[in-house]
Amino acid sequence: EAGVVQSPRYKIIEKKQPVAFWCNPISGHNTLYWYRQNLGQGPELLIRYENEEAVDDSQLPKDRFSAERLKGVDSTLKIQPAELGDSAVYLCASSSGLAGEQETQYFGPGTRLLVL
């Protein structure tokens, strides 16, 4: 079974430029998460989707961040414009939503973003 796929793995951009990250969750997983992980810290939730609906985006900086999951499968996270402080690893995770299993999250390898 294929795991969570993310691309690109690495991205270097200059500040004020836009950037987008893509995530394809495990097949059949209804719940998709985007996290940001700064160096030496744990992942922090940015947004959670149930199918195509964003059910928790309270931590998403909406002035510059946006996300979509149009068909309830893969998802895109965008930053426009990027700031120096956005340098971090952006992790995507998915979970099945099945009773007794919904808590376990499966993470992708992450996209390492460096803003210069």
Partner: protein, 112 residues
């Protein structure tokens, strides 16, 4: 707000010994607690989940305890191996589903 504390200093142990990692939390009691492993350059990998009504959970060489009175979880790796060297993250869910808060993690080094 909820706060999770894990040992900020790295833990260095000798191969074959038992590694014990601590996770302390404040404020509300979580519905369940999870432990994840993270290797450099990779995403976290789920290891164990323990619910608020459980005291202990085991899986092979891993054991997790959950003390809701002390607001603490202990994560044990018995007969540790160099391959166990990684960062271990504690994660709590306060709403019974999908609101997961991660600690900063503890780095474990197991020497051969």
């Amino acid at each position: 707000s909820q706060k999770i504390e894990q040992n900020s200093e790295a833990l260095n142990i000798q191969e074959g010994k038992t590694a014990t990692l601590t996770c302390n939390y404040t404020n509300y009691s979580p519905a369940y607690l999870q432990w994840y492993r993270q290797d450099p350059g990779r995403g976290p990998v789920f290891l164990l989940l323990i619910r608020e009504n459980e005291k202990e959970k085991r899986k092979e060489r891993l054991k997790v305890t959950f003390d809701t009175t002390l607001k603490q979880s202990l994560f044990h790796i018995t007969a540790s191996q160099p391959a166990d060297s990684a960062t271990y993250l504690c994660a709590l869910d306060y709403t019974g589903g999908f609101k997961t808060i991660f600690g900063a993690g503890t780095r474990l080094f197991v020497k051969a």
